[in-house]
C-alpha cells in the first residue's frame, strides 16, 4: 500500500513538472521578499507557470546570468560594463528592466529636535567622525548608530553609496533586521538608523529626517514624490535583467510585474512603484 502511494506521488510530481512552465529568478537578497511575493501572487494569476526564486546577492545573480543558468537576474545595482561585456562574450545580451524604486530613509528618535542632515553629515555619522548631535546642530547627546548587518544588500548599498566605501565607525551596532533598527532607535534618545521608508512611516516614536544632497541645498524628505523624481539622494532602482527582449512566459511575467497589480505588491513590500499608481 505504501509503495502505491509513493508511485502516485512521484507520478504527480513528474506530471506537474512537465506541464508547469518554470521561470527562474536569481539574484539580489534585497529583492528576495519582493520576488517571492511576486512569485506567489503570479501563481494565483497564472497557475500553470511556476516562478522559482533564489537569492544569494546581486553579484551571484549576475554571474548566473552571464553563465546563462537563470531566466531573470534580479539585481539591486546596475550591471557593470565588464559584466555586460562578459555576458556578451558568452552569447547573452543584457536587457535592463527597472522594476521598482527603493529609497532609504534616515531615522532618528522622535524626541531628537534635529530638523535635517546633509549627505556628508550622514556619512560622517556612520563612519564615526561625528559622535555627538551637537556637532550637527542638535542637543548635547551622544549619537548611537544602528545599521543592518552584512547579511543585507541594503548594508552594501549604504556602505558604497553613502559611506563611499569607508569603513563603519567603531560604535555602529549591526542588527539582524530593519524592524529591529526601528525598535532600537525608538527607545534610544540619541539613536540613528537607516532602512526602507515603509519600516519607519507612521511610527510616533520615530522621526524620518529630510536629507540635503549637498551642503547648502534644501533638505528633501524621502516621500514618494521626491524619491520617484530622484530629488531625494539615497535611492536606487531595482532591476530585472533578461537575455535580449523577454519572450513567452518570461515576457508575460515581467509585463505583469510592471502592471499596476505587480507594482502594487512592490509598494506593499515597502518599495516605490515606477509610476504613481
Amino acid at each position: 500500500m505504501k509503495k502505491h502511494w509513493l508511485t502516485v506521488l512521484l507520478a504527480t510530481i513528474a506530471v506537474a513538472s512537465v506541464s508547469a512552465q518554470q521561470i527562474s529568478v536569481k539574484g539580489s537578497d534585497t529583492m528576495l521578499i519582493l520576488n517571492q511575493r511576486w512569485a506567489e501572487e503570479y501563481s494565483k494569476v497564472k497557475p500553470s507557470v511556476g516562478v522559482a526564486v533564489t537569492g544569494g546577492g546581486s553579484s551571484i545573480g549576475i554571474n548566473a546570468f552571464i553563465n546563462g543558468v537563470t531566466d531573470i537576474c534580479a539585481a539591486s545595482r546596475p550591471m557593470r560594463k565588464s559584466e555586460v561585456d562578459r555576458a556578451r562574450s558568452r552569447g547573452s545580451i543584457a536587457n535592463e528592466i527597472p522594476v521598482a524604486i527603493d529609497g532609504l530613509a534616515i531615522v532618528v528618535n522622535a524626541s531628537n529636535p534635529i530638523r535635517s542632515l546633509t549627505m556628508d553629515q550622514v556619512r560622517r555619522i556612520f563612519i564615526g567622525e561625528i559622535t555627538n548631535w551637537n556637532q550637527v546642530g542638535g542637543p548635547n547627546l551622544p549619537i548611537v548608530t544602528f545599521s543592518r548587518d552584512s547579511n543585507s544588500g541594503t548594508y552594501g548599498f549604504f556602505q558604497q553609496n553613502v559611506l563611499l566605501n569607508r569603513n563603519w565607525g567603531k560604535g555602529v551596532r549591526f542588527l539582524p533586521a530593519t524592524s529591529e533598527i526601528a525598535r532600537e532607535v525608538a527607545r534610544t534618545p540619541g539613536g540613528v538608523g537607516y532602512g526602507g521608508v515603509a519600516y519607519f512611516k507612521n511610527k510616533p516614536s520615530l522621526k524620518i529626517v529630510p536629507i540635503a544632497p549637498r551642503d547648502g541645498v534644501d533638505p528633501i524628505p524621502p516621500d514618494e514624490e521626491n524619491v520617484r523624481a530622484k530629488r531625494y539622494p539615497i535611492w536606487r532602482y531595482l532591476y530585472y535583467y533578461t537575455n535580449g527582449k523577454p519572450k513567452g512566459a518570461v515576457a508575460d511575467y515581467i509585463n505583469w510585474v510592471l502592471s499596476p497589480a505587480g507594482q502594487r505588491i512592490a509598494e506593499e513590500v515597502g518599495y516605490y512603484s515606477l509610476k504613481p499608481l
Binding site: D29, G57, S58, S59, I60, S76, R77, P78, R80, K81, S82, E83, P142, V144, D149, S150, N151, S152, G153, Y155, G156, F157, Q159, Q160, N161, L164, N165, R166, N167, W168, K170, G171, V172, R173, F174, L175, P176, E184, R187, T188, G190, G191, R236
Partner: protein, 490 residues
C-alpha cells in the same frame, strides 16, 4: 537468546565507530572548506593625481578633481553604482578654458600600445589578478591653460587600504618622460612611502592625440611575501571587516569577544547553578524535587532564540533602566546583556549536571559528617562541595562549551560590532562591558548568507568554524579529564 546479546553488542560496535567517524568527517569537511581562505589575490589600490605646483600641502590626491584610482580587487562587491562607471579621461577640447592638470589610466601589456582614444579614469575596479603581467600605466598631462613651470605628482593609498599589510612589493616609478623633458627617473617603494609628492617639469598636451605622449607612470605590484603567510598574518590581526573594498579578516576581536562573554556568563551562572543543585539535591523535600528537577531540565530545552528575544524585550530595557546611567550604557544590546542571557542558558545545564554529580557522592560521607556533629551548612561547604569538586568543574565546563558555541542569543543581543576590546584601564573595562560586541558563531551565521560561494570570505567563515570547533572540543575534553578524577576515598 545468546545470539540476541551478541547482535546487540555488534550493533553497539558498529554504531559507535560510525558516529565517531561521522564526527571526524564533519570536522574534516569544515576544515577543508577553510582552504578557500588562502586565496592568492589581495586587493590593493592607490590614487594618483597631478596637482598645480602652488597647491597647498594638505591637498590630497583623493580631493583633487582629476585623480586616477588604480585598484585591483579580488571580488567585485555588490551595489557599486555610480562610482563604478568607467570614466573616459577628459579630452583637451572638453575642458577648453579650464585650467586643468589630469591623470588618465590605461591598462596595456606593452608601453607602445598606449592609445589616446583609450584613456580612462578609474578603470580597474574589476576582477584582475596581479600575476597577469599587465602594466598599470597612468598618463599625466596638463591642458593648454596651465601656465606654471612645474607640476606635482601626488599619491596616496586608496581609503581603507593599508600598504604595510599587503603581501606585494608595491612600486611607483616613472616609466617614460615626455619628449624633450629632462627629469630624473624615480622608483618609489610604496610600502615605505605610502603617500607623498614629487615635483616634475610641467608638460602640456595641446591636442587630444598628444595626450598619449605625456608622462607615463607605473604602479606595479609583484608577489613578495608568500600568499599563505600573508593570509595567516591577516587572520591574526585585529580588524574584522570583510565587506570593505580592501577586506580585513582578523579573527582576534571575534575570538576574544566570544571568550570574554563566555567567561563572564560562567561567572554569573556558576554560583547560581551550584546553589540550585545543592538545594535540589540536599535540602529540597523529595516531593518538591520531583517537580523542580524536571522543570529545570525543561528550561534547559527552551530554544535559545526564545531566550534571545526574551532578553531583548525584557532584560535589555531593564538593565538599561537600572544600570544605564551608572555604566554609561548607550543601548541594551551589549556584552553585559549578552552574558546575562548566556548565563540564563547555562544555569539549567550546569545545575542539572551538578545535581547528578552530587548524587554520586556516597551517602557515607554525609553520614560521617553528621556523626561528627557538623551542621548542614558545614556539611555542604566542607564535605560535599570538596568531594564533588571535580564533577562540578566538569559541569561548569560543559556549560561553558555550550555557551561558547551559542549563536542566536549573541546574534540578537550583542550589538554586532566587531572591535578589538581594550582592557588597559578600568574605564576601558566598563566601556567594553556596556559596548557593542560580536562573537564567532553569530558572525558565521550573519555572513554565510551573503557570501559568494568558495570565495576568500567564505573560506574565512569556515576557518572561524574550525576555531570554534577546536575551542569547544578542547573545553569538552578538559571537562572529561577533570570529571574522571575522584576526590574522595571510601
Amino acid at each position: 537468546m545468546r545470539w540476541l546479546g551478541r547482535l546487540f553488542e555488534a550493533g553497539v560496535y558498529v554504531t559507535g565507530i560510525t558516529v565517531s567517524l561521522v564526527v571526524l568527517v564533519m570536522f574534516y569537511y569544515v576544515a577543508r572548506e577553510a582552504r578557500y581562505a588562502f586565496g592568492d589575490t589581495f586587493a590593493w589600490g592607490f590614487r594618483l593625481a597631478l596637482l598645480p605646483a602652488d597647491s597647498s600641502d594638505d591637498m590630497s590626491p583623493g580631493s583633487a578633481p582629476y585623480t586616477t584610482l588604480v585598484t585591483v580587487n579580488a571580488e567585485g562587491s555588490d551595489g557599486l553604482d555610480e562610482h563604478e562607471e568607467i570614466v573616459p579621461a577628459p579630452s583637451v577640447s572638453s575642458v577648453e578654458g579650464e585650467m586643468m592638470l589630469t591623470t588618465a589610466a590605461t591598462l596595456v601589456s606593452d608601453i607602445t600600445d598606449i592609445r589616446a582614444d583609450r584613456l580612462y579614469r578609474d578603470e580597474w575596479r574589476a576582477l584582475k589578478t596581479t600575476q597577469q603581467g599587465d602594466q598599470f600605466l597612468v598618463l599625466g598631462y596638463a591642458t593648454p591653460r596651465y601656465q606654471q613651470k612645474t607640476m606635482v605628482l601626488a599619491w596616496e593609498p586608496d581609503s581603507g587600504f593599508d600598504p604595510t599589510l599587503s603581501p606585494y612589493r608595491l612600486v611607483l616609478r616613472l616609466v617614460r618622460a615626455p619628449h624633450g623633458v629632462d627629469v630624473q627617473p624615480f622608483d618609489i617603494d610604496l610600502k615605505r612611502q605610502p603617500s607623498g609628492r614629487i615635483t616634475l617639469p610641467a608638460w602640456v598636451a595641446r591636442t587630444d592625440a598628444e595626450r598619449s605622449n605625456g608622462y607615463v607612470f607605473e604602479i606595479q605590484a609583484t608577489p613578495h611575501r608568500s600568499a599563505f603567510w600573508a593570509t595567516l598574518r591577516g587572520i591574526f590581526s585585529t580588524e574584522w571587516a570583510p565587506t570593505l573594498m580592501y577586506p580585513r579578516y582578523g579573527v582576534l576581536p571575534l575570538l576574544i569577544a566570544t571568550t570574554l562573554m563566555s567567561v563572564l556568563a560562567m561567572l554569573f551562572a556558576t554560583p547560581l547553578a551550584v546553589a540550585t543543585a545543592l538545594y535540589l539535591s540536599e535540602i529540597a523535600q523529595p516531593r518538591l524535587r520531583e517537580w523542580l528537577k524536571p522543570a529545570l531540565e525543561l528550561i534547559a530545552s527552551v530554544p535559545s532564540v526564545v531566550l534571545g528575544y526574551f532578553g531583548l524585550m525584557f532584560v535589555a530595557p531593564s538593565l538599561q533602566n537600572w544600570l544605564g546611567q551608572a555604566l554609561g550604557m548607550e543601548s541594551g544590546r551589549n556584552l553585559l546583556t549578552t552574558s546575562v542571557m548566556l548565563a540564563v542558558l547555562a544555569i539549567p545545564i550546569v545545575a542539572s549536571v551538578t545535581e547528578d554529580v552530587l548524587k554520586t557522592v556516597p551517602e557515607s560521607l554525609r553520614e560521617s559528617a553528621m556523626a561528627l556533629g557538623l551542621t548542614r551548612g558545614e556539611m555542604l561547604w566542607k564535605v560535599l562541595l570538596p568531594a564533588a569538586r571535580s564533577g562540578i568543574m566538569a559541569a561548569v565546563l560543559i556549560g561553558a562549551a555550550r555557551v561558547y558555541g551559542e549563536t542566536m542569543i549573541v546574534w540578537i543581543l550583542s550589538g554586532g560590532t566587531a572591535s578589538m576590546p581594550s582592557l588597559s584601564s578600568l574605564q576601558d573595562v566598563s566601556r567594553v562591558l556596556v559596548g557593542s560586541t560580536r562573537g564567532v558563531p553569530d558572525t558565521i551565521a550573519i555572513e554565510m548568507g551573503n557570501v559568494a560561494f568558495e570565495s576568500v570570505h567564505y573560506g574565512h567563515l569556515f576557518l572561524l568554524g574550525v576555531f570554534l570547533f577546536a575551542a569547544t572540543v578542547l573545553v569538552n575534553l578538559t571537562a572529561l579529564y577533570i570529571g574522571r578524577k575522584q576526590v574522595w576515598r571510601v
